[in-house]
């Protein structure tokens, strides 16, 4: 099987390159290989669209939870306050 055929068929490698490109860098050669692959592979084009969206959603989910209204209960806070003051008064 020729090199080109190998590139065209290798979805495992193509999806790897898609992921690497998404958050890092790939080489020029890898870019070309990926382009050739995606040109002929609709499944990986679907994969690419979906994985980009999944990354966006994950980031969104994380930032939502970071801004959540989750609060500590008062008893726990009071205990912590005491512990801190005890520590400070030791010195």
């Amino acid at each position: 099987m020729g090199t080109l055929k190998k590139i065209q068929n290798n979805c495992h490698k193509a999806t790897f390159l898609i992921e690497k490109k998404l958050i890092g860098k790939i080489t020029l050669r890898e870019k070309i290989e990926l382009k050739i692959h995606l040109f002929g592979c609709g499944i990986c084009r679907t994969y690419q669209k979906q994985t980009v969206k999944i990354s966006q959603m994950v980031r969104q989910l994380f930032s939502d939870s970071a801004n959540s209204e989750k609060q500590l209960d008062d008893t726990f806070k009071k205990d912590m306050q005491h512990r801190i003051e005890d520590e400070l008064d030791k010195n």
Binding site: N9, F16, I23, T46, L61, F62, E85
Partner: protein, 191 residues
């Protein structure tokens, strides 16, 4: 010593920063009890380091940095040990038939197909988030740790690799595998 302590006000830490730190921790480890403990440990550790505070960053930034270090410690503990091998193996097993062994083409049963994700506006889809969370919880601890550090804090690959002791090559393999499982899980569970 006196001028330095003036910049930090440990007696106000709970009132000023406890809820913030708690939300920060819970977003990253998804376990309320453990998040509580981490906040407490952060304050106690910070008290020991008060005289090392240089006033270069705000009190909150300084406390958050201490907490961050503790969170990475949790990741590290979760992703080392015997149970870990089993959960990585299980996750790898899940994707073992995604691609044809010979040339790496998608297998018919596992090829990505269009599903709700393609036409919905995901940013407003609440239901989606719960599926996404469930799928993330199924990931091996090491994978989830790496994935979280990368997507939540945009931590550099070098730092993640050195903190969690994985090679660069392994890092990319894990990112790839994580996404493959996550995407498949979403397609399978999308309502």
């Amino acid at each position: 010593m006196i001028t330095k302590t003036l910049q930090l006000e440990p007696r106000n830490w709970v009132a000023s920063h406890a809820d913030y730190l708690y939300a920060y921790a819970i977003a990253r480890i998804n376990d309320e009890e453990q998040a509580k403990d981490l906040v407490q440990e952060t304050f106690l550790a910070a008290l020991q380091k008060v005289d090392k505070f240089e006033g270069k960053s705000s009190e909150r930034t300084w406390l958050t940095a201490i907490l961050k270090y503790k969170i990475i410690d949790v990741y590290r503990k979760k992703s080392s040990g015997l149970i870990v091998n089993a959960d990585v193996q299980r996750a790898e097993q899940e994707q073992s038939d995604f691609f044809e062994p010979e040339y790496g083409h998608w297998t018919k049963e596992n090829a990505p197909m269009s599903f709700g994700i393609d036409d919905h506006d995901p940013l407003i889809n609440k239901e989606f988030n719960s599926i996404l969370q469930k799928c993330m919880q199924k990931l091996p601890a090491l994978w989830l740790s790496i994935f979280t550090m990368k997507h939540m804090d945009d931590q550099s690959t070098d730092i993640i690799c050195s903190e969690l002791k994985v090679t660069q090559a392994n890092f990319w393999v894990i990112i790839h595998r994580t996404k493959l499982n996550l995407r498949a899980c979403l397609q399978k569970n999308w309502i």
